[in-house]
């Protein structure tokens, strides 16, 4: 395996991650499922490419404009559908994503279904990484603020959120807007990485893949989304040895993990510096001698921290500790 190949996978992971971060805010923190985020990616991709190629704008401006235009479209969609209850929003996004793809297939301005070749390649690992670092930082700040908590309240119990004065419709709109901007930026990166755009790249499959990653990583966990995006984008490549059976094994792997960890990789917890530090400390403190006590200690502390989401929560619990904490929880 040469570096060029690995770098390619990393860049694709990074692009996916950007879209997943946005979807994580919408699905993981606000509780709205979308199967149309590929549509937002497409809008961002074509806008960014158009502004860069036809108008000669620099990459940063083109990406931001791409993201922003996806955001604007999302406001329109949200205004129409977010007042609806239940699964209607999910279905509407599905229709929206497919509609965008079909429009791009049939409008010849951007090459139609044949695609749009010759977009200058301006994306490399370093700028994808930079975009992602900024994206993660902004998202972490948002989630750990009153606005982020209001979104979580919408996810947890919408009616109760309203009765404590949260404008749930507004927060759903904001969440949708931000997630569409992230998807739009990711779309812009796609065009400038592959040098080629085709409506087929933004099919329902893409939207589904993004949703799978969010759920796989764990609802309501940014670190989970990061891990999920890196793992699941790389997984089909790792599985190339299986040749034709590759995607079957991929599907089986995802199913296996979801059965063994239904709450996702991180299960709503975050990896924090504090968590890592305490994990290291624990690892140093208990050398071989007191392993059994360690297990008990870990279980207790994980149980205590169970629902702490204010950023101090840590992911330091071992797998077995987690499981124990879950089994203690009474079910209501």
């Amino acid at each position: 395996m040469d570096w060029f190949y690995i770098k390619g996978i990393l860049i694709l992971s990074g692009i996916n991650l950007m879209a997943v971060l946005g979807l994580s805010l919408l699905t993981g923190f606000t509780g709205l499922f979308s199967f149309g985020h590929a549509g937002f990616m497409a809008i961002g991709a074509y806008t960014a490419a158009y502004l860069g190629v036809k108008m000669g704008l620099p990459l940063t401006v083109a990406l931001l404009a791409g993201g922003f235009s996806a955001g604007l479209v999302s406001l329109f969609i949200g205004k129409l559908t977010l007042k609806l209850k239940g699964d209607y929003f999910c279905i509407a996004t599905l229709g929206f994503g497919e509609a965008i793809r079909l429009i791009l297939d049939n409008v010849q301005t951007f090459g139609g279904a044949r695609g749009w070749p010759g977009i200058p390649i301006r994306v490399d690992l370093w700028n994808v990484a930079l975009v992602n670092v900024v994206g993660i930082a902004l998202l972490v700040n948002l989630v750990n603020s009153r606005h982020g908590r209001n979104m979580i309240a919408v996810r947890e119990e919408e009616l109760a959120a309203k009765t404590i004065g949260i404008d749930t419709f507004r927060y759903k709109m904001i969440s949708l807007f931000i997630s569409a901007v992230y998807a739009g930026v990711a779309g812009g990166l796609v065009g400038y990485y592959t040098g080629f755009l085709q409506p087929k790249m933004f099919s329902l499959n893409k939207s589904t893949e993004l949703t799978i990653i969010v759920i796989f990583g764990g609802i309501g966990s940014i670190s989970g989304s990061v891990l999920g995006a890196l793992l699941l984008t790389a997984l089909p490549e790792i599985l190339r040895a299986f040749a034709l059976w590759r995607l079957v094994v991929y599907g089986a792997a995802v199913i296996f993990i979801m059965i063994s960890r239904p709450e996702g990789l991180m299960g709503g917890k975050e990896i924090t510096w504090k968590g890592i530090a305490s994990l290291l400390q624990r690892g140093l403190r208990l050398h071989p001698a007191a392993k059994s006590q360690a297990g008990a200690g870990a279980q207790a502390s994980v149980g205590d921290r169970g629902g702490d989401r204010d950023g101090n929560g840590s992911a330091s619990g071992s797998g077995s500790g987690d499981r124990a904490a879950q089994s203690i929880k009474p079910s209501f």
Binding site: L138, N141, L142, S145, R146, H147, G148, R149, N150, I152, A153, E156, E157, L159, A160, K162, T163, I164, G165, I166, D167, T168, I174, G268, D304, R305, G306, G307, D308, R309, D310, K329, P330, F332
Partner: protein, 258 residues
């Protein structure tokens, strides 16, 4: 003039009149009760006051301003909050985060301030956290601080829901069957808690309850509903001896003390 005035309130679902032509007033600073047999429309009245349902006809005036058909969050921000008959907590969040979320109105910083950690964010966030801690202390929830809401004992869940409502600093607090599922001991504690809330948080309380010991123990004024209509209104003494109330609860021909 009362803090809350309900005039000719009517709500129909298709042909069913859930609440019909109900009028009453709640005096500022009082503890009032809303009672009636099952299906009398008590919770519907709460849902109308808090904007969960739209009013069919009639009006609701709070603090001199009409509030019927406003959005629930607007009504909440004007100063009416409530608890629910079937507890609605943010189940997967800790006790602390349940309360902290409800403290959101004590801070003003915008989304840009939050995302870029701009002016005032830290100070306002610290103040919110202090408020949440103080409220937990008052409501005796500190020892459950980091417990997940849905794993709490039932009585504590009820208390947490009241605490969350109080975090919004309401002028009028609506409690929907706060004593449901509590034993006599817990009910006693709840009664003194409700009285303390009125003093310490300076708010008016309207409570729906089936437990007559609670209603008769703390309410100054009681409104009785039956089949969506107002049956009568009065002090605990008047209500206890009113033959119409006894009939509504026990059926025709029932005698006091029989």
């Amino acid at each position: 003039m009362g803090i809350l005035e309900v005039r000719n309130l009517t709500k129909t679902f298709g042909g069913l009149v859930a609440v019909g032509d109900v009028s009453f007033a709640v005096k500022r600073g009082s503890i009032s009760g809303l009672i009636g047999p099952n299906g009398a429309g008590k919770t519907t009245v709460f849902n109308l006051i808090t904007g969960v349902y739209k009013v069919t006809s009639g009006e609701i005036v709070f603090d001199g301003r009409p509030i019927h058909n406003l959005e629930p969050h607007v009504i909440a921000n004007m100063g009416i909050t409530r608890t629910f008959q079937n507890i609605r907590l943010f189940k997967r969040l800790s006790v602390y985060n349940n309360i902290l979320t409800a403290c959101h109105r004590n801070a003003r910083y915008s989304i840009a301030d939050a995302v870029l950690r701009l002016r005032g964010f830290k100070a306002e966030e610290r103040r919110m956290r202090e408020d949440a801690d103080a409220l937990m202390e008052v409501m005796g929830l500190t020892r459950w601080r980091n417990s997940v809401a849905h794993s709490l004992p039932y009585g504590v869940q009820r208390r947490l829901e009241i605490a969350r409502a109080l975090a919004v600093k309401p002028k009028l607090l609506l409690l929907d069957e706060p004593a449901a599922g509590m034993n006599p001991d817990e009910t006693q504690q709840l009664m003194s808690l409700i009285c303390r809330i009125r003093e310490e948080f300076n708010c008016t309380v309207l409570v729906i309850e089936h437990r007559m010991d609670l209603i008769m123990g703390i309410c100054e004024n009681i409104i009785v509903l039956n089949f969506g209509r107002k049956l009568t209104e009065g002090s605990p003494g008047e209500i206890q001896t009113d033959p119409r109330v006894i009939e509504a609860y026990l059926g025709e021909g029932a005698k006091i003390g029989a």
